[in-house]
Assembly symmetry: none
Homo-oligomer: 203 residues x 4
């Protein structure tokens, strides 16, 4: 839980970030609809109306939270794809990057998981649909490449595999706590080991 401080003078861009972090935390814990603006304001140590000095609306808060996160994620994925790795290494890098993103933006990821489907119907959040499509291409393309070069098994439904990998990664945001006993990289390593080689012992 974020620091509660009394009415105080803080420089603007950081204050905005601070408030968004607070809001994200509450959105993630309570759900967007169930979160009242008063609750966010309470957590930020101000009155509900005061939030409107910084933001247009509750909606614009979640908008900024999600778009900031997605922009960063997109950059991360692009960097991975641009590295020219083989299919297995690309999957490894995408998974690792995703867990790092969860580590950095746990709240935003949780919000994304819970609310994006429902938000994506609104024109304002069209970018959710767009980035969804981009990510799908990144994962699916890599899997296909891997099937083609016999890195991955050919007998599995590739869309099913994609959903399996995607969801399991992101759903981790719902239980992950930064600073826990496993680092993001360690979680990624174990997850990859499981997904790539299975949990059954080779006999």
């Amino acid at each position: 839980m974020p620091t509660k401080k009394k009415p105080q003078v803080t420089p603007s861009p950081e204050r905005r970030r601070e408030l968004l972090d607070t809001a994200a935390e509450v959105f993630a814990a309570q759900g967007y609809n169930a979160t009242t603006v008063r609750r966010i304001a309470d957590a930020a140590g101000m009155l509900a109306g005061s939030l409107y000095y910084h933001f247009d609306s509750k909606e614009s808060m979640i908008d900024e939270i999600l778009s900031t996160f997605l922009t960063e994620l997109q950059e991360g994925y692009e960097a991975v794809l641009a590295a020219g790795l083989g299919p297995r290494e690309t999957i490894e890098a995408l998974v690792t990057e995703s867990f790092r993103e969860i580590d950095r933006h746990r709240a935003a990821v949780a919000i994304y998981q819970k609310e994006s489907k429902h938000l994506a119907t609104q024109p304002r959040f069209q970018y959710l649909v767009d980035s969804q499509r981009e990510f799908e291409q990144a994962w699916l393309g890599t899997l296909e490449r891997g099937v083609a070069d016999r890195t991955f098994r050919a007998d599995l439904d590739i869309r099913l595999t994609y959903r399996f990998v995607r969801d399991t990664v992101w759903v981790a945001a719902s239980w992950y706590r930064p600073g826990g006993q496993h680092s993001p990289d360690e979680i990624a390593r174990q997850y990859l080991s499981m997904v790539l080689d299975g949990i059954a012992l080779d006999t």
Copy 2:
């Protein structure tokens, strides 16, 4: 499971079921908080107030939806565990049972995924916490047995593995559509193949 004071005992249990199915569909599509009682009533072809002849409250609707589903799921899991199968076969049976449950109660599962964490804080929904614990024991116990008898790998964090497997299964409720191209058993088979043997091609 709670009972209060109202007519609650509707002469026709089929009507009640019908209304709950309608409500579950809307809750799953829109989210519990974002769903208005009026919307459920619309979908059921009646006025908002009329729902209160059948149910105490909106909360009692989701309560009944979730508890009915969980009771059935519990029975299914217990039957599997009582069968005295080996660890690998138990995991296979649990996963298959879960996908069948998703097939039958898609809406309830989706609601459970999205809302249970947030509902579990209320005393009325204590049973969510309880069953969560039971399920965890079922999975964890089976995995531990499997590690002990060298069915499963010993080098993975077992709690992490449990979470991955659990999430992989349930998150499917968010995209699964009954009557689609894959039957629940077929999806289970592919999931198990991935989880047990991995997606990488053995070399």
Copy 3:
């Protein structure tokens, strides 16, 4: 899937009328912007939220008040113009009709006077602009006919005359009280006498 029938909310038109009359009175007395929805509800003997069972919004209230009034006025004017009277008799009939309208819809006319300019900028109230134009044509056309056939003086700016006649009639809604010492027809008679023949004694 349950049967979907329209529950058809049949709002009692009399209650609706009653509430609109109440609202119109308050709007006229206080001004639209200065009137709170709570105040209308008070005057109607109910709570603010209850008004929304009958109306979509505060805006839809003033909308219905104004459009109802304008529809009736339009019909009145059309009947006058369809009667095929000479210019002087047409002006007399238009003025008389106007004062009768003020008698019947005092509040609506007062609201129209005070708020229409400002409301007309919104697309929803485009009809205010449209009817304004129609009325202008009715008055201006009649005046022009009268100038042409030497019923009216030719040395006056006809637009100025139009505004003079129009405004003076409608502004009467701000002081007119139904059931006062002058009937609408009597006021019309005196007003016409003044406008047509002037207040100066012929010498």
Copy 4:
């Protein structure tokens, strides 16, 4: 005219005037209640809070706008009445003076027309009631003198006549634009011609 407690005594009375003119323009265009302090500040090129260095409150702005205008109008009317003219010439002078006032203080007059009735209920704006009464006396007295000396017709209700003349003049502020095709004096001439001699052609 009221004075309160604040800095209120701005070093530069010109800046104060400027700001009041800006405010008057916005009040006239948007209506007092619908005008936000922020909008005035925008138009003046400053932030909302900054206006409070110059003025106690939004109310004190409209107060100063109206009282300044009314003081000037009162002086104008008094000068006319002190000139010892006959009834017809007095009416002519009053009308002409009024249109000149509209030319100089269009915004203030428009505000006065739209808001004075509603403001007059507050003790702070008692002077609106007072001046209303004074103006009424000026017009009514002149009309009565004119009826007595057979300048004006005796068969018209004199209060009705007063209201018509008064409204005819002031309502012009709602459409008048300084620098338009008619000078204030020309408009006054035409208005007087209509009011005194009527628009009907003598036969």
